[in-house]
Symmetry: C2
DNA sequence: TACGTTCCTGACCGCCCGGTCATCAGGGGC
DNA sequence: GCCCCTGATGACCGGGCGGTCAGGAACGTA
């Protein structure tokens, strides 16, 4: 990828930057999609944030929908692929693997801009069935399968007791998705802000003890964290 | 509430039905808000579905925002109040209470039209801060406090081990919210449909075992459900 | 310096939506 | 049977947005 002129010279009205445009447009689009949602995002604004006019946007992307798909392909899909590789290569216990996946996912998705996309998809799925289908294929099904395999394998190995893996997988994923949604909607709105680290630690503790049926305190593997009282405020 | 003429006579262009209009408009609004979201719902459509013109809608509601608030006040708030009373009156274990609350909530909210509102609120919170604030006050905070009290009480009584109640409460609630969101977004989109009953049963099993740290199979209290294989299909 | 290609612009089109208001007609009261 | 209040209408306004396109500016080439 070559960038001809990183900072456009001010004396000319505009500069040719064919190579840089797509990435810049995608970045601007991600920002605005996450901030406002799909329908509420105006292509005029996306273009302006990328420093071009709306007409230019249409030189690089066929339509609003294609722009959005490109954002997903570049942002969420790679994060999933990383964990797919992790599952293939992992050797230790399934509990460890689960923890690793959760932490990876938080690093890649939760802690970055792209984490706002799931909220958006839940919101617009019914209004834009084509987008919903695309997202379900590329993100939901793959992510679900990923975690489902871990749960199922853990059960078959005897690490987890027998259970309804179908729904257990969803129970494992639900709080992760919820955290994403919360962060991009109500978080910090009314003084209530979730601390992701603590939240994920508690989640992991609960599902592991639930999945394994451990008696109680084995702080090494499943850090049930006797409630750092410092984080509790209300 | 008196209804003068239940079915408008066809020979007149319209009928006066001052008493019936608000409820009919609210019902129509709920339908459409849930179906399409807040911003995407057109007041023209709401009016038409209620059998009146847009002008009439403005006779009864000041604005789109006030219409929406009225929908929430009439639909979600009562469901919460019911459980607030339940918590006050309950005598048995906290695990039992938790189960009751979850089942109540599913009956009142999950299984009805109003269950689509949370998705909508997550979606539009950032774009409509006033609505978000209202919703957080009237629904989120109250619901959170409700469940939080149960968790905390269970812990103080020794029924649940010591833990970070703040986040544990959210982990309990997250799968419930997730189920609502799923039902009103992707559910049934790609053949993947969640069975609410089974899902909630598994959820309850996981959080109770997690919360209590039970060894494994005590099917009476915490029905861990050795996976009815019938419900598993994929 | 002059030219042709490539990249970019911004005005424009058609359509949509929240909210308003002059006007009309239903129907209770007499 | 008539009147008048009031519930109800629907055309209209201002603003906004996805998508198009004719024209113009930048830049490699010679």
């Amino acid at each position: 990828m070559t960038i001809t002129v990183p900072v456009p010279r001010p004396e000319t009205r505009w500069t040719r930057r064919k190579d840089a445009r797509p990435a810049e447009l995608l970045a601007a689009a991600l920002d605005l999609f996450v901030e406002r949602g799909y329908a509420a995002t105006r292509l005029d604004d996306v273009a302006r944030r990328a420093g071009v006019s709306k007409g230019t946007l249409y030189l690089y992307f066929e339509s609003k929908e294609e722009l959005f798909k490109a954002v997903i392909r570049g942002g969420l899909v790679p994060a999933i692929q990383r964990n797919e590789r992790l599952v293939q290569d992992h050797a230790g216990t399934m509990a460890d693997l689960l923890e690793k996946i959760i932490r990876n996912w938080w690093q890649d998705v939760g802690n970055s801009q792209i984490g706002g996309i799931p909220k958006l998809m839940f919101a617009e799925a019914r209004n834009f069935p084509d987008l919903a289908h695309f997202y379900q294929q590329e993100v939901i099904n793959r992510g679900y399968k990923l975690v489902g395999e871990v749960v199922e394998l853990g059960q078959r190995r005897g690490e987890f007791p027998p259970m309804d893996t179908e729904h257990a997988t969803r129970i494992v994923l639900a709080p992760l998705v919820f955290l994403l949604l919360w962060r991009h909607s109500f978080d910090g709105c009314d003084g209530t802000r979730i601390d992701p680290e603590a939240y994920l630690r508690v989640h992991l503790g609960i599902i592991l003890d639930g999945l394994r049926g451990r008696p109680s305190n084995e702080p090494a593997k499943a850090p049930r964290t006797a409630a750092d009282p410092a984080t509790s405020r209300r």
